[in-house]
Amino acid sequence: MAAPMTLLLIVAVTIRAVLYRSGVADLVSERVEVVSPLTAWKRVVEGLALLDLGVSPYSGDVFHETPLIIYLFHFLVDYAEITFMLADVITAVALYMAVKDYNKQVFRKQKYALEADRYPLDCLELIRSPGEMYYIPLKVAMCYLLNPFTVLSCVAKSTCGLNNAVIALFILSTVKGNMLLSAIFLSLATYQSIYPLTLSAAALLYLIFWWFVAQYAFMYLGSLLVLVGLSFFLLGFWDYLPSVYGFILSVPDLTPNIGLFWDFFAEMFEHFRLFFLCVFQINVFFYTLPLSIKLKEHPVFLIFMQLAVISIFKSYPTVGDISLYLAFLPVWSHLHRFLRNIFLVSCVLLACSALFPVLWHLWIYAGSANSNFYYAITLLFNVAQILLVSDYFYAFLRREHHLSYGLYLKRKDGSEATLVLK
């Protein structure tokens, strides 16, 4: 599998290099669907300039990324394109290795269950074979690297690519069982944007004993403190806390993006703002507990669901966040027979992706539309994503149910039954 993977990496890097050299890079780095006030490269350059002048990069409400990023690019600003391409490559390779390991674990669990005779006889067609699972890691890497969303995000030099790389490394270390690295990468991801905190539930599900859980929590919190302290020592003042975390949580900038916050908060009365802010932010973290309880035996699926929930409901999503969880879809390709809405969802996602630039043009340049048109497409896009995620959830649970109770369900009197997700 090394040869196809290398070929894929070469193709992906070539596509990105070609696009960097063409005029597309300037156009794309200003599209609001691809960059947000948190991740825009323009703002990183601005922050670097301010740092060179000796002023805090957080003055003037321009730069909202973490101090570690600014120090990373302080040394690497001339090689920025290579950095982002490398981040994409690291993400793809990490996902490849993680999925390969995960497939091995799944197959092993299935073998034990078969030997222990835990599956009813008629669901043999639901059992997965190694042949079918052989190409899945390569497909995952392909889905990530050749996804137009990822390519656009890389060409625009959005720091979302770095965030994706850290999350992918976290997934790899969790699946491999390396707790220290998993805690460190998770704390890096949380340090950059707060929402990956919810992924800690999935990491904890890999552990069984309370002592390990306590160890993990200690390592996680410890690394987080180290990072925060390091940032303070590098910069010398604490003003990055309100600029980064305060910005993510209190959403002061209402630039249009593909998320749900901007138009809603633009229309709101001031004295309800705090209430709705809390409601929207709790919405991201709220699904962690119920999902972890339901999916306690399937932590990787839980990670997939959490990533999707984060990318839909976070305060400043971009297409780079979406491409990370879309890369996981080949892992669940055995669920295709149970998916109910896949056609509708893919049509709507395709149509919305095409309509985003059209309605932006009509609103901003032609002046014939207004923000409601663009927000409508945003809403439709997010509804389609939610439908996609809930469809996969349904299909996953249904397959588990069939594996326990048989494929052709019969009611107590012998007639055929249908499954309903309540």
């Binding site: 074979s129 042949g131 079918e132 190409y135 390709s333 056609f343 049509c347 395709l350 149509a351 095409a354 309509l355 059209v358 309605l359 043009h361 009509l362 340049y365 032609a366 002046g367 014939s368």
Partner: protein, 551 residues
Amino acid sequence: MGLLSDPNRRRALIGLLTRLNAPIWGMPVDWLVKTMQSRGLEVFTQRFSRRLPFPDEDKERYMVKGTNVYGILRAPRAPRTEALVLSAPCTAGDHNNQAVGLLLGLAQYFRNQVYWAKDIIFLVNEHDLIGMQAWLEGYHHTNTTGMDWSPLQGRGGSIQAALSLELSSDVVTSLDLVLEGLNGQLPNLDLANLFYAFCQKIGVLCTTQGKLQRNDWDSVSGYSHAVQTMMLMAMKQASGRPWGDHGLFLRYHIEAATIKGINSFRQYKTDATTVGRLLEGMYRKLNNLLERLHQSYFFYLMSSLSHFVSIGYYMPAFGLLGVILLLRALDLWVQLASPPPRTEDGVVDADPGVLSVLTPLVISHLTGAALYTLPIHFQEMAVEHFPVSETEAVVLTAIAVYTAGLALPHNTNRLLTGQGTEQGWKVLKLVAVLYLAVLLGCTALINFSLGFILALTLVPVAAFVTPNVPKVLSAFVLVVLSPACTLLFSVFFFQELQEMPVSFLDGWMLYLSVISQGILDHALYGSLVYPLVALLVYPCWLLFWNILFWK
């Protein structure tokens, strides 16, 4: 095809022009500057130059160099934040010889009034649309088309509205209002209503699309007259070209319209003074505006000056056409998702489906890219080998690439690796139908008439084509309904609607010039029709052609 089709005469002309380093027919720049200054305006000039990608045979120009002259009437007691523009194109010959005179007369009259709250810019542009594009780009500090212009020395604030005048005689029988702008963009309907209401008040006859309004809406002939007017507007909008100098203002969010004076055989003629009073009234109304015109519709089709169809009425018609495609896609999905039972051989069956679809997609888009880039890039080579002028070379290369694309299905089938050919064409058709639906939807949002005309011709074909229909008949139907033939028929239909029917040969020449104008519009002003058709609609049509000839 025109003055420049003989290569020797063309070379002689170009040599003469470059030797003199000045156009033979030019604008009297110094006289205009002096006259405007004597009327008390602040006068500035702007030089611009542009080399067209190939000679324009309709207007007989290749290397365009010119000067725009504009004078600013400063509002006496207001801050200089907003402006209005009155423009008149200055071309040689009889086409538009009275407009500049009326403009200067109005300038003198306006100068003596005290009620102006906005600056008024009197613009005389040379080489009509090219000069206007240079002026607008200079005014807004953008450079999207690669033109070379000198920066503007004087400005007037953000432009709220603009009117462009075209007058060929000093008495008119009616005034024609032209609304269609670049890429089918229209000004706010309020501007058209304003003009019509004021014309009625003054008592000047006002028309749209050159057709008079009729009072008998209930009769069949009245209804068909209204439908003809609306179809004329739809075809003008679909062409994507600005039908007056106002068309380029719309892109900068400035409401603009062109007023053409028509002198036909009627007894009652309006003289220039009444037209001047009309324009003064229009400008006083625009002067009193507190905000930009945005309350009325931006998307409409006018069947007469007092009747229109808004987007809420015409979009459902388009939506129903789109639903046909979506239903066909759903039908194909259901057929694909329930295949006959196969023996398990452990091969992943989704992959060959995707790969076999990829080959026709890539080849169709490469052909589309060839249609977009080859005509202009290879015109020199074509001129060397064939006895044609550059314009003819460009147009004939475009037609040749288009026709060469028809030969492709017989080659791509050899490269395909699809197993289960029954599945293969269904997957391709599903992708093609969804692609067409999204493409037509996006086009209809930006330029409704273009999207609707393309939908009318492409949707029935797209829904019904399969490899199992009779090949010869469906190939004929598919070619007849392809974008190029639609354009050919539209040219004849357009001439019929304007009551100037043409013979077949003249129509063919007109068709060739329409193609060359389309390519030029894209290069000069950024019109989207040519890239849309070449890069997106034509490859989509080629996918259906591939499906028809699937083995």
